[in-house]
Symmetry: D3
C-alpha cells in the first residue's frame, strides 16, 4: 500500500483549513500566551483501523511548521480502544487551531478503514476481494480510496476515464449486449479494462461471449451468483454488487465471485471516535 | 431557510466533477450516439428528507448547460419511498456522465437531512434545538451545514472565527474560569458570542457569574443537566453535547437545555438511498 | 491580538506577487550579479503604527527563502519618524524584486493601523470602542481587519454570515421592526448575534423591546445619541455610525455609545510612508 | 480607454464575493420573502469621477444572473452629487447580498478616478501627463490602473517585467551609470523601454548620454526639474516623482517635464461616497 | 471519439488567456471603435488534420460571449490547403484579442492530429494501433491525448495511476520478472491493466509466463519484434516502442505487434500552419 | 539571463504533476520497498542546449523534498551527446514518480533552447537578434520564453499588454497608417513601445514618418528587406518575420534587419532526447 504524495493531499487539506480559518482565524487563540505549549495524543476511543495520518500531519504542518507531529502507527494499523495514533507537540495556539481539522480527517478516514476491514474480515478465506465504488463524497475521493486500501479493500475505478463500464443504458442505446461490447472493444484502448453490467443470468452468456474483462452482476440472488460463477468458468472476473451488508457479504463471497463492491464503504461509514488528549 | 448561492456552491461542485472526469472524461460515453437523449428521475428508494438539490442541479449544468434539471421538491421536503426529487432530460452522454456526481451530493446531503430530522422529531415539543458541530467532512462544511438546516437543525459555528469558545485548555492556560472569561470578554468584539465549556456542575456557577452567552455542558449526566438548568435560571443559553444518540436525545431535551449539539449529523450520517431511473 | 496564520495570508501575498512578477519576472534584475547581496531596513518616514509585518515577511520568503527578514517591531507598535520596522538581507536580485510588494503591504496596512490608532486615541477614556465595517477593499478584508486590530480597533463582522443585521429594507419587507426582529430571532441560531439598524429615536424603543444584542444608531445627532443611551439603559450594545470623523468622534463617544463604527478605517486610510533603505 | 475583459475581472470580483459570503452566505436574507424584489440606484453622495462599473455589474451577475444591472454612465464620467451611476433590479435577497461588494468596488475605484482627475485638471494645458506607479494595493493592480485611466491618468508599468528601470542599487552594483545602462541595453529586448532614475543634476548628462528612453527625476527641486528639462533637450522622456501633491503638481508640470508619477493615486485615494438608494 | 467536456477544457483555456491578457488586456484594442465588427475565417495554410476546435471556440467565448464561433469541420477532419476550420464574427476588439490564443490551440493540436494521422496511415492494413505516451507537454495532456485520438491514434495511459507499468527498475528492485509481476498482480486491483517492459527476447518468456495484459518491447530490432510475436502467440498485447519514425513504423507494424507507441506525437509535433483571414 | 523565480514556476510545475498523479498516484510504486533508493543521471542522448533545469528540480522537490537534485550545468549550456544535465538521488518510489514530469520539462524546454541556438548561430556576426513570438503553447509561455533566452534568443512581447502592435486590421479600422499610428501614440503611455506591421515597401515611408519604435516587415522578400533597411536609415528598429527557416535566416539577417522573429521556436521545436539513467 502506497501513501498518497503531498501533491495529491495538499489541495484537500488546504481546503479544509481554509474552511475552518475563514478570514479571522481562531479568535479563541488570543486567550493563550504566545509562549504556551501544548502536548497531546490522538487516541482512539473505540476499536478500529487507522487511516488519514498523513492528512492529519499535513494539517498540522500547514497551520504551523513548528508543530511536531509524530505518528505512532501507520495507516491500516488495528487500534484497540485507547490506542494512540500520533502525538503532537507545539505552540498551544497552533495545535488547538489545527486540532479539529486533523481530527476530522482521522475520524472520517479511520471510519472508512474500519468499516472496510469489517467487510474484509467477513469474507476471509473465500478469496473474494472487497472493493469501493465511485459513490464517494465530493472532493474526497483520493483520500477515501486510500482509506479503503488501508482497511484491506481495493479502490476500483477512480473516475469516468479509468475503464469502460457498459451499463443498461449503453446496452439499450447500442441495441443489445453484443453490439454494445463490440463498440466498447472498438472504442477502448489497449490499456482500458472493459466491464459490463448484467442484470440477470439471461444476459450473462451473451456478455461473456464478447470477452469482457469484468462482468458486474448487479443485484443477483445468491443462487444466481453461484450459477453465474459456474457458467463463467473463469472467463471473466465476476463482481457482485447491490444489497451488500455485513450480514450478507460472506454468503455472497461464498458463491465464488471474485470481487464484491460496496458503496457504503465511502458513502456511509460512521466516523471512528478519536480524540486529542492533553498529555 | 436560505439556499446557498452559486458563489459558494460552484467551487465544491466543480471539484467533485474534476475528480470524476480526470483527463479523459467519460470513456464509456463514446458508445452513445451524440444525438441520443436520456430522460430520468432522481427517486428516493427509502423514506427520508431531501437536500442537495442545488448541488445536483449545478453538477448537471456544469457538465452540459443543455441538460434540463427540474426539481420536484425543495431541500427539506419529506420523501416517501419512491418519491421523485427531480427529473433530468438532455443528451444521454452528458446526463450519464453527470449522474454519479449529482447522486453523490443528493445521497450524502439527504442522508444528513434525514438524520437531522430524526433528531429534531425526537425532541419535538421540548423546545430544544438540534445543532451541528465543526465535526464536518473536509471541504464540505458549507453544504453539510445547509443540509442540517434542511433537516430542521441549526448550523452552530461555521469556523474558528465565528465565536469565542473557551475550552478546558484555555481555562488551564488562563488559570481558571474567571480569568479565562475575563480575557475572552476583553478579546471579543461586540459582535462575538462567547461560549464556555464546563465539565461538571462545580464549574457552572463560576462560569455563569462571568456572563457568557452560552455554556456548553459537556458529557453531563441527565441529572446534572437538569440541575444545571435549574441553577442557570436562564442566565445563559445552555448547550448539551456528548453521548447524544437517537435513543438518548429526548431525555436530554427534557432536562430543559436549549440546544443539543450532535457531531454525528455531519460525520456519521449514512447516505439516503437515491437512484436515477430512466423514464 | 493574534497574528493571522499563513493559511490565511499566503493566498493574498501570493496573488500580489503573481501580479508583479507576471511571466517575465524582474527584467532589471539581470543587471545584478547573482552573487550580489543587499541589506536594507524598512523604515517609517513619518510617525505611525506598524502593521503588515507578517505579509511583508511572507512576500520575501515566497520570492526567495534565502532572504532573511527580521522584524524589529510587532504589529501595533508605535513608530517614530525614521523608526525601523524590519531589516532584510539576502541576494540583491531577490530582495529588490520583493521590495515593492513587501512595501505595498506595509504602507497600506500600517496606514490603516495608524488611522485606527488616531480614532482610538481620540476616544480615550470614554469607554467607546472603534470598529471597522465591511467597507473593505476587495480581497484584502482579512489583512485589513487585522490592521484595524493592530491599531487598537475592533473588526466587527467579517462577512454576511457572521451576524444577523436587520436594516431598513428588511424591516420594510417584514412589515415593521417587531415582525422583523421576531423573524430574525426565529432564523438565527444560538451562536448568532442580532443587530438592528434604527434611523431615529422613534424606532428605538420598539427595537429594544425585541431584545436585539446590538442596536445600530445610524446618522443620529449627538443629542439623539445621548438620548438613545439614556433610554436604552444598557438593554443592548449601542453602536453609532455615519458622519464619523476625527473631528467628531470624541463627541460621539462622550454620548455614552458603546461602539463607533468607521468605514474610513479600511476604505480611505492613506498609506503610511515607509521605504526600504540600503544599509 | 479600453474596458477590462471579464477574463481579468472575474478572479478579482469572485475573490471579493467569496470573502463576504464565507460558508453561510447572507444569514439576514432569510428575513426576506424569496419573491421579494428590490429596485435601487447607485448614487454619488458627492462629486467625483465614476470607475468600477464593470466590477459592480459583475459582482451582481455572479451573485445572481437574475439581477439586472443597468449602467447610467461609463467609467470616466464626471458625477455631480446625487448623480446615478447605475440602477439595479432583482430578487431582494440577491441584490442586498451583492450590495456591499458592488459598492466596495465602486467607491474605491471611483475614489481613484476622482483623485486622478484632480491631478489631471491641475496640470491642464501644461502638456504633462499624470501617471500611476506600482504602489498599488495587493491584488487590485489591474482594476486600480484602469481606474487611473478612467480619471485621465496613465498606467505606467504593470509589473517587474514591463520595462527595465535602473535605480540607484543597480547603478551601484554595476559601477556607475554608464556601465549600468550599457548592461541594461544589452539585457533588454527590442520591445523593452529603458528608464533610469537619477537623484540629481550631476547624474543627468551621464544618463542621457547613454540614450535611455525615459529618465526618472526623483525628488528634484522645481529649479532642478526646469534645469533638467533645459539640458535634456528632448533626448528622453522626463518623468518627475517624489513629493507630488495637488498643491505642488502644477508647478512641477510647468517645469516642462513630460510625465509626473504619483503613488498616492493608488495607495492613498479616499473612497468616493456612493450609496445604494431604494427606488 | 468523444469531445472533451468544458469541465476539462475550461481551466486549460482560461490559463492560456490569463497568460496573454495579463493585467492590462489588449492595449492595441483601444485603436478600434467599440462598434467595429470583425468577421474572419480560420483557414489551414497547408494540408493536415483538424483538432482543437472546442478549445478555440471556448477561448473566444471566454473573451467575449458576443463572439459567434462556427465550426466548419469536426476534430479529426482532413484539411486541404486553404480549407476553413471555422468562422468567427463579433466585436473587432474581442475577436482580435482572442485570435492568438485560439490559433495557438488550433495550430498545436492540429499539428498533433496531423502527425498522428501520418503514422496511422503509414501502418494502414497492418492491424497495428498507434498510441501516444506520457511524454506530453506540461499542463496539456488532456487536450494532446484528445488530439492524438482525433488523428486516429490511441491515448495510452493518462497518468501514473491508470495502469501498473513494470519497468527495469521495478524488476531489479523485486529481484526478477517473476517476483515483480507477482507483486504487481498482488498490488493491482481487478480494474488495473498490468504492463511489463522487457528489453530483450531473453526476458520475454518469463514475462509472458506471469500473464501480464501487455508486454512493452522496448527498442527491439525488427527481427526480434517478429520473433516476439511468434513466441507470444497472442498471450498478451504486444506494444513496441523506441526508435519509431515515419520511416520505420510500417516495418515495425508488419512484424505483427499490436500497438506502437510514439512519444513524438505529443512532444515533437510541429504546428500545423493555420491563420485567421479577414472576410 | 535571469532564472525564473519559484513564484512563476510553481503553478506550472504543480499543474504538470497534478495531471500525472491524478487521484491514485503512482500505482506501480507499490512494487518498490519504501526503503529502496534510486540514483540517476539526466543525460542528453544527442547534442543540444540545456533548459528547464529549475522546472525539473522543482518537480522533484514537489514530489518529495527528500529527493536531492543536483544540476551539473546551467540553462543555456551546450550539451554533447551523453552529457549529464543533473543527477538525482532519493527514495526510489519518489524519484521514479517524478521522472516523467521532470523529463517532460527538460526535453521540451531544451528542445526550444537547442532550436533557438541553431538560429542564433546561423546569424552569427550579422548583428541580427533572433526573437520569439506569442505563438507559444497554452500555459507554457513563461517557461518557453525563458528557454528561448537560454538559447540566446530574445523573448519579444509576453502578452497583449506589453506593447502596442498595430496590424492591418487596426490600420483598416483607423483609415490608414497615419491615423492609426496617431491613435496609437495618443493611446500609449510613455512606457509603451509602439510597433507597426507593414506588408510592403509602399507602406514603409508612411509608417516611418509617424515615428514608431519598431516596424515589423511581414513576409518581405530579401530584396525588399534590404531596400527597407536602406530607406529606414535607422529611424526605427526593423523586425522581419514570415517564412523564416534555418535555411533562410542567414540571408534575412544579412539584409541588415535588427530582429528576426520566429514562431517555430516555441510552436514547433522538437524535443531534445534526454533520459534518466540509473547510476
Amino acid at each position: 500500500m502506497t501513501a498518497l504524495p503531498r501533491i495529491i493531499l495538499e489541495p484537500i487539506v488546504r481546503a479544509a483549513l481554509v474552511e475552518d480559518f475563514g478570514l479571522a482565524g481562531d479568535v479563541t487563540a488570543g486567550l493563550l500566551s504566545p509562549s504556551a505549549r501544548f502536548s497531546g495524543r490522538f487516541a482512539a476511543r473505540s476499536a478500529g483501523v487507522a487511516a488519514g495520518l498523513d492528512c492529519a500531519a499535513l494539517a498540522c504542518a500547514l497551520v504551523d511548521p513548528a508543530i511536531v507531529f509524530t505518528a505512532h502507527v501507520a495507516d491500516g494499523a488495528a487500534l484497540a480502544p485507547g490506542a494512540a495514533l500520533a502525538t503532537v507537540e507545539g505552540p498551544a495556539a497552533s495545535v488547538l487551531a489545527a486540532e479539529r481539522t486533523a481530527l476530522n480527517f482521522l475520524t472520517h478516514l479511520s471510519g472508512i478503514a474500519t468499516l472496510t476491514r469489517a467487510f474484509v474480515d467477513a469474507v476471509e478465506g473465500t478469496g473474494a476481494r472487497i472493493a469501493a465504488t465511485r459513490k464517494t463524497l465530493p472532493g474526497l475521493r483520493a483520500v477515501q480510496k486510500a482509506a479503503v486500501t488501508a482497511g484491506g479493500g481495493w479502490p476500483h475505478r477512480y473516475g469516468l476515464g479509468d475503464a469502460v463500464l457498459v451499463k443498461d443504458n449503453h446496452i439499450a442505446a447500442a441495441g443489445g449486449i453484443e453490439p454494445a461490447l463490440a463498440m466498447a472493444r472498438a472504442h477502448a484502448g489497449h490499456m482500458a479494462v472493459i466491464e459490463v453490467e448484467v442484470d440477470g443470468l439471461d444476459q450473462l452468456e451473451a456478455a461473456l461471449a464478447c470477452g469482457p474483462d469484468v462482468v458486474l452482476l448487479d443485484n443477483f440472488s445468491l443462487a444466481d451468483l453461484a450459477e453465474a460463477v459456474a457458467r463463467a468458468k473463469g472467463r471473466a472476473v465476476l463482481e457482485a454488487s447491490g444489497g451488500v451488508s455485513l450480514a450478507t457479504v460472506r454468503a455472497i463471497a461464498q458463491t465464488g465471485v471474485d470481487v464484491i463492491s460496496v458503496g457504503a464503504l465511502t458513502h456511509s461509514a460512521p466516523a471512528l471516535d478519536i480524540g486529542l488528549d492533553a498529555m
